[in-house]
Structure formats: C-alpha cells, structure tokens
C-alpha cells in the first residue's frame, strides 16, 4: 500500500552555497519597484540647487528677489540660511555657502511647484563673484604662498596618518634590491544609475522624515543633524530602493540638508534630485593620491621593508575620502610578509571636487602600487612572479605589523589556484620573450593580489548589527534588520540564512530594513561587512527562534528538543525525518494555549574585533581575506587599445552562502575595477570637470566585458556565518594592477598613472620607439 505523501519523511538538505534569487528581482524586472527617484508625495515641491560653476571665489553679492517673486516659487535659500550649521568629518562644510571652494559649491536653493518653475527661478538669481587664485594639486597646496582654502585649516592641511614599525634605515641597508616609484592615481566617480535624490518632510512637531539613498542610516542621522541644527533623535530615515550606491552614500552631502532646509521653510515635502550632469559634477569621487612607494628585498627574494609616502588631494571639503589611509596602511603593512613598514599620509585641501567612500576604499589605490612593485621585484630577481609571491605569502596564524591576526589565511591557495587555472607562469615567460619580436598585437598576462578586511572594520565605536525576528501564526517570518539593501543582495542572504535555520521556504521570509524608527542599529553597508555582520545577526536570531520552537514542540510531543529538527515547514525527527507536527500548527498551538507564547526574538551581534586605535595597532576586523586576479590582455601597439581577454579570479570567500549573489558581486566588482584601470577619468582643468556625461566619461559596457573564470576558495572562517567572509570589495581592488602588470608583460612599459587609455598607451609605445632606450619612465 502506498504511503500518503504527507507521511513521507523529509530529508535534511541545506541552502548554504545554493543559487538564490533576490526577492526584489521580479518587481525590479517588471518596472514595479518604486525607487526614491520615482516617489511623489502629496503637496511635494521640487528643490533645485544653484551651483557656483567656478572653483574658488568670494561672493560679492547675491540677489534672489526676482526668483522669489516668480509665481510657483515657495522659497529661495542662500548661504545666510545655513550659517553656522557646519557638518562633515571635520566640520568644514555647510549646506549653502557664502564662499566658493569648488565648482559644485551650493550657493542658493529654490523650492517650487514644478521643475520648470524651479529652473526658471534659478535663472533669475544673480550672483556677483570675485574669483580667487585656486589650488588644483596637493603639491601646489603645500607651497608656502599657496592660496588658503579654509581659514581654520592652516597650510591647507587636512587629515594626517602615520604608522611606523621597525628600523627603516637598517632594513634599507639590508636590502639588495629596492624599487622606488611614484604612482599618481586619478579622480573617478561612482556613476550610480539612479542619480542622487532626497525627499524631506517635517511634521508639525518638528520631526524630520527624510527619504534617502543612504547606506548607513544610523550614523547618517548623527551626521545630518548638525547641518540642520537638530537633534539626531528627531530625524527618521526612510530607505526606499536605490539605483546603486557603491560607497557614495556613506556620508551626508549638501543636497540632503538642502532638501530638509527647503522643507522646513515651506512646510511641505521637498524633493531634490540630480540631473546626470549634476551627478557627475556634484557627487563624490574616489580619492586621488600621489603614492611614493619603496619596497625592498634580499637577493633570495625575501621582502625586507616597505615605505609609503602618500599625498592625498583632499578636494574642497573633508568627507570619507581623506580617511582612506586607514585602509591604505593595512595593505602597505599586510600585503605579504613585510617586517619593516613606514607609512605616512597627508591630505591637502584643493579647489577640486572632494572624495567620498568608494568600493575598495583606499585599497584600490594602494594595491595599484604594491602589486606592481611585487611584479618589478620579481623581474629584478629573475624569479617567476608566482614563486616570489608564494615565498612571501602570509599563512594562517600570522599577525601583521598592525596586529591584524590572520586566523584563516588562504593567500597561498588563491595564488596557486589562479596561476594554475590561467597557466600563468608559462604564458608569462612566453609573452616576455615575444615582446622583442615584430608584430602589431602583443599578448600579456599579469597577476595581482591583495588583502582586505572581511569581517567588518571597527572604525566606529561599534561594528554591530541589530536584528529582530518574529514568526507569525502562519509560519511566515519577518526579519527586521539594521542592514541596508542597496542592490548588493543582503536580502537574499538573510532570506537564505533564516530559511536554512527554520526549515521554511525562502518566500516565507520578509525583510524590513527601510525605516530607522523600526529597524535597530547597524553601522552601514561598507567594509565588505554586511554578509558577515548582518548575516551573523540573522543567523543568531533565527537560532534563538528555532530553539524556542523546538522547546515548545518537545513539551507538546514529549520528544527531546535535540531529537527534533525543522524541515520543509514541519517539525520532524532529527534522525529519520518523520513529520511530527506542521510548523504553523505548532505555532498556533503555542499562541493559543493557556500560557500563550509568541516567537519574537532579538539579537545584537558585535564582532570580536578591536577598535582601530590612534596608534593603528589593532585586530580591527573579525576576518581578513585575500584575492588574486590574473588578467590576460592583447595590446594593439598601433592604436594603444587594450583588449582584456580573460580574468581569472581566485578569492578567499570563507564559505559561499548565496552562490549567485556572490558571483554577481565579484563580476560587478571586476567591471568597476576595469573601468578604473582602462577608461574612467574625471578630466579636471583648474577644478572644472570637462566630461560630465557618459559620452565622455567611459564606463565599461557589455562588449568590453572579458571572459571570467571565478574560483571561490573556502577557508571556513570560524567567526563568519557558516564560515563566510565578506567579499565585495576585493574584486574591484585587485584588477587594475593585474592589468598594468599584463601590459608590462606585453610591452615592457610600466604605467604609473591609470587609466591606461589608448592615447596614453600608444603615446608610451611611440615615445619608446623614438628613444629606443628600453623600459620607459613615469607616465
């Protein structure tokens, strides 16, 4: 006789490592998702900002009277409306300015009934400027007689960072080979497809609700409050779906307090949204820098020291950009076993646009230098680069000079895997020999690696994440998490983890994370931390709920809790999978019994890392990870064009949680890194952006995307959720130096200044043909 299907035992399965869809994907695919850019509120006004359009000037006079009189205009604000409301990392910024320090400085703002009226009002504002001489490079900003940009920051000095470990002079003396180069890394910008947008509205009690694209809602309140003269507790942050962020929404930028100031003045909701040109001109950049790096080794290929002197182009104001040395020094000290390290970085104010946080956060810039110097040293040693890397690669259990403890280190395996999969060593030798032969097209292969925090980064007092989890009478689960979703896929990761622990379908998990009045504290989406930190939080909350459910089931069935499991929406016997009771039935019984109980749990996960102290000696992340990329390219020596044929990537991801989401993060990270390496550059002339559009600022498109060969190394991180580590920044970090090393392999020319555009490459090849003096100097 057939058993009834309802009696069929349920086998134990796992979702960890499976391919899971993003829960918001169907709405995004059908155009149903209401992004912040799509939002319209009743009575909403449109806010517009008048930008200075000159890099450095005094404002002699400003006349807004004609604009104010235009029908449909509700208010016009200028610098006097934001006086004293200083905000920013070192309180050097205000929402509306009385003096111009960079091209996009916000001089006035209008709230009007339509965009058209707002635009006409802007045209009616007359401003008389007195232009001042500007500072456009950090070197010029350091000069004795350089124009001063901020009265209270003498000598144009912004942030300074220093770390010293060991006797540099002795290490240099003991080095048989030293490479010494200056790398100049450029301005690029995030190019989020959804342009910057904020909607602000005050209630009658004076409480502000701001719909924001922020990726750090809780610190955002703290950072926004001083720009408005408010208490952070009176700000509610709503996070509708956003069109990308990539680090750009990790600070408060002037358009956000401007939206709030306009809303306050008019008593109506106000929406400020950038045009694409405004987005290019007025949103943050990646931090440009001049990196003077020296690395030494002995004749047998053992690294002896590394030193880095870094000059950062701070731009006009201090956002997160000039804080990147915190990460730059981690790579300088931790990219391979370097016993002696000196690191020094100074940010200098200029009249250029200012940098924020951008995926990779300083490590993109530093690894461009460290990974090329590894390649140079290997050549001078006449060693196969892979052997040189392996000889100096750190191992599990080692500690870096900054006290980062590498608990599970898989650099070795990443190197071997990437080299083997790409046939690196044989190709590297072959292409080196082919360099001297005739032929228009030259092939090259380049390897680069780096280290990054992969278990959060305790740069704030806390690196934690709060989670509230409830299971309703129908066995539907709501997870209220502090973690923000900006497209990266923490929604799918949390769904997967909770479904795994509670044995329910993925579709039965709902995530609430778009309202700071509801969701608990989290530091934000940065430092590749969210899967690790929020994933751990979700898992811990789900385990608590699971235990409460199994205990209740044990009481009702008189089967010990440890002999029960949750699978397929049922409580089953752990050993044989036999169904004991349907989960939702159990939940209702728990609820409607004489001593009723609901399943609702809270968790606060704080990783066991140490705060980044002033001396920069701390184990500041709960995990560290490595990635190795091998780039294979073809250079057209006539046109200078670089075609990227294939990227082989081996990355320590700890353990794969959602395979599809992880692949997406690595692929997308590589694309952003390729743009940085090959084509993207903000062309600034005396602080003015010359290419504020996709036609002239070239991001990667589908035809340029190379073939990818991704390898996930699973080092099983003890502290990570199911062993996982953070993963999303390393692919962006490692790609540019892999390309630069490949171009050297193909042409014998080093490029110290990305991007490697056809013009730059062709010019370098031409120059060398003219002089025929071997490898060229600084480009």
């Amino acid at each position: 006789m057939n058993r009834k299907s309802s009696d069929t035992p349920i086998e134990k399965t796992t979702l960890i490592g499976k391919r899971v869809r993003k829960p918001d994907a169907p709405d995004k695919a059908t155009g149903k998702t209401r992004y912040i850019n799509d939002m319209v509120l009743p009575q909403m006004l449109i806010g517009k900002i008048l930008h200075a359009g000159r890099p450095h000037a005094e404002i002699v006079s400003i006349d807004v009277s004609a604009a104010e009189k235009l029908p449909g205009v509700h208010c016009v604000l200028t610098g006097k409306d934001a006086e004293g409301l200083r905000f920013g990392f070192v309180r050097d910024n205000v929402a509306l300015k009385n003096r111009v320090r960079c091209e996009h400085d916000e001089i006035a703002a209008v709230a009007a009934e339509t965009e058209e009226i707002a635009d006409r009002a802007m045209a009616l504002i007359t401003v008389e400027y007195r232009d001042l001489p500007g500072v456009f490079t950090p070197e010029d900003g350091r000069e004795k007689d350089a124009p001063q940009i901020h009265d209270d920051f003498p000598d144009n000095k912004s942030l300074h960072f220093e770390f010293r470990h060991g006797d540099l002079a002795a290490a240099e003396a003991a080095s048989e080979i030293i490479v010494d180069n200056v790398f100049r890394v450029h301005h690029v910008t995030h190019c989020c497809m959804g342009t910057s947008c904020a909607i602000a509205d005050f209630d009658s009690n004076g409480k502000l609700t701001i719909w924001s694209q922020t990726q750090y809602p809780y610190n955002y309140k703290m950072d926004l409050a001083p720009a408005l003269g408010m208490h952070p507790g009176d700000i509610r942050v709503m996070q509708p779906p956003v069109g990308g962020a990539f680090g750009s929404k990790l600070d408060v930028y002037p358009y956000e307090p401007i939206a709030a100031l306009l809303a306050k003045k008019t008593g109506r909701p106000v929406k400020v949204m950038f045009s694409r040109e405004e987005e290019f001109r007025s949103s943050p950049t990646r931090q440009p820098a001049v990196i003077h790096m020296r690395t030494g080794c002995t004749r047998n290929g053992t690294l002896t020291f590394r030193s880095a002197d870094v000059l950062l182009d701070n731009g006009a104001y201090t956002s997160w950009g000039p804080t990147i040395p915190v990460v730059m020094m981690r790579t300088t000290t931790g990219h391979y076993r370097v016993p002696v390290v000196h690191f020094n970085a100074q940010a200098i104010y200029t009249n250029n646009p200012y940098a924020g946080s951008f995926r990779g956060y300083g490590n993109v810039q530093t690894t461009y230098a460290t990974a090329q110097q590894m390649d140079m040293l290997a050549e001078q040693l006449d060693m196969d680069p892979i052997d040189f890397h392996l000889k100096n690669a750190q191992q599990s259990g080692e500690t870096t000079p900054q006290q980062a403890f590498l608990r599970e280190c898989a650099l070795d395996e990443c190197l071997r895997t990437a080299a083997q999969a790409s046939d690196y060593s044989a190709k590297h030798r072959r292409y080196t020999l082919a360099r001297e032969q005739q032929g228009r097209y030259k092939k090259g292969i380049g390897l680069a690696s780096s280290i990054h925090n992969a278990g959060g980064a305790k740069i704030h007092k806390s690196d934690g994440c709060g989670t509230i989890l409830k299971v309703d009478d129908y066995a539907r689960v709501t997870v209220i998490t502090g973690a923000s979703e900006i497209g990266q896929g923490i929604d799918a990761v949390i769904n997967l983890i909770v479904a795994e622990e509670l044995g329910i379908p993925l579709e039965h998990v709902t995530i609430v994370n778009d309202d700071s009045d509801i969701a608990p504290w989290d530091v934000g989406v940065h430092a590749s931390r969210t899967t690790f930190i929020a994933g751990n939080g979700a898992r811990r909350a789900a385990v608590k709920a699971r235990q409460q459910i199994l205990n209740a089931a044990a009481r009702m069935t008189e089967i010990a809790a440890q002999d029960l499991d949750l699978r397929g929406g049922f409580v089953v016997r752990e050993d044989c999978g036999t169904k004991v009771i349907k989960l939702e039935k159990l939940l209702r019984r728990m609820h409607f019994q004489p001593e009723p109980e609901l399943v609702m749990v809270t968790d606060y996960y704080e990783p066991n890392s140490e705060p980044e102290g002033a001396d920069h000696r701390s184990d500041h992340s709960a995990a560290y990870s490595h990635a190795v990329h091998v780039a294979e390219i073809t250079v057209d020596t006539h046109t200078g064009e670089i075609r990227v044929d294939r990227i082989t990537s081996a990355q320590d991801v700890g353990r794969v949680i959602n395979r599809m989401g992880l692949e997406g993060q690595i692929e997308g990270g590589i694309a952003i890194g390729l743009g940085y390496a090959l084509s993207e550059e903000m062309q600034l002339e005396k602080g003015m952006l010359k290419n504020p559009c996709f036609r002239d600022y070239k991001v990667l498109t589908a035809p340029e995307m190379p073939e990818l060969d991704l390898h996930f190394i699973e080092s099983n991180c003890a502290e990570g959720p199911y062993g996982a580590k953070g993963a999303s920044e390393l692919p962006t970090i490692v790609i540019a130096p892999a390309i630069a090393n490949a171009v050297y392999n193909a042409t014998g020319i080093r490029f110290f200044n990305p991007p490697l555009t056809p013009e730059k490459v062709a010019r370098a090849i031409w120059d060398r043909q003219q002089t025929e003096t071997g490898p060229s100097a600084d480009r």
Partner: protein, 157 residues
C-alpha cells in the same frame, strides 16, 4: 508656459489621450503625466539606455524623443511585457540568472534584450554584446545579463 497639444496613441495595448506641452519628452510624459515610472531617467541624453521603450516595434531612448511624436503610434514600456499571470520570459530569465542587483538600468536593459532576441533568432554572443552596448549597468558587469538573454534565445531555438 509652453504651447500644449493633445495626442493619442496606444500604450501597452490600451488607447491613451493626453494633453502635453509640445516641448515635453516622451520619458517625462510617461513618468510624470501617465505615472508609468518603470521607465527610468538616468542620463536624459540618450547615452545610458535606462529609458528604452518600444515604439512601433523598435527600441528608442524615450528621453530623446518628443512626446508629440508618439501621436498615432504604438508604445510598449517595461510594464507592458508582463501578462496577468506571469513575467515575460525575458523578465523571468533576468530574475532566474541573478542579472538584477540594484535593478535601475534593468527596465531599459530588458526592453533592449527582448528586442534583440525577438528580431534575431540567430543572435550570436557578439551580436548580443554589441546590441546591449547602449545600455549601461554599474552593478553586474553584464555577465549575468548576457547569460539571461542567451538562455531565452536558446530556449526559442
């Protein structure tokens, strides 16, 4: 105020009549007059493809096209692909292949991908890459987008 005019056209299979300023672009009409916010503004200059719609069967950047030129014509937007009961196969394939992260470029990307797949049953990988060149995505690196479209093309063969 701009001169206004009344136009009539078919939008996702339904007849529509609207009075719009003659200077208005199709994208603005869709988003702000008709409330069809699935089609996205991302550059307004025809350089990113986020506003791609179908006009009489062909794809256009709706940000470049004056709304008055829609008069008497047939428009399909991202909202028009789905049937009552199911996602369009191209939409479903994008979902299943993990081609959607922030998703902001995806309405335009899917419209263009559907056009390419429908009009060229022999669509090669190279054709597909070239055909999507005008659609910028900052999240995915295009790899999963290409996988998603290829799966639809192969299923139709």
């Amino acid at each position: 105020m701009s001169l206004k005019t009344e136009i009539s056209f078919r939008l996702n299979g339904r007849a529509v009549s609207v009075t719009i300023p003659v200077t208005m672009k199709t994208l603005t009409m869709l988003r702000e007059v008709l409330g069809m916010t699935g089609t996205k503004y991302a550059c307004g200059e025809g350089e990113c493809g986020a506003c791609t719609i179908r006009l009489d069967g062909r794809t256009v950047n709706s940000c470049l096209m004056y709304a008055v030129d829609c008069d008497g014509r047939e428009l399909v937007t991202i909202e028009g692909l789905k049937t009552e009961n199911a996602l369009h196969p191209m939409q479903q394939s994008f979902v299943d292949h993990g081609a959607i992260q922030c998703g902001f470029c995806m309405p335009g990307m899917i419209m263009q991908a559907d056009y390419l797949a429908q009009n060229n049953p022999e669509l090669s990988c190279e054709d597909l890459r070239r055909g999507l060149e005008g659609n910028v995505c900052r999240c995915t690196g295009y790899t999963k987008v290409l996988d998603a479209v290829t799966a639809v093309v192969e299923a139709r063969r």
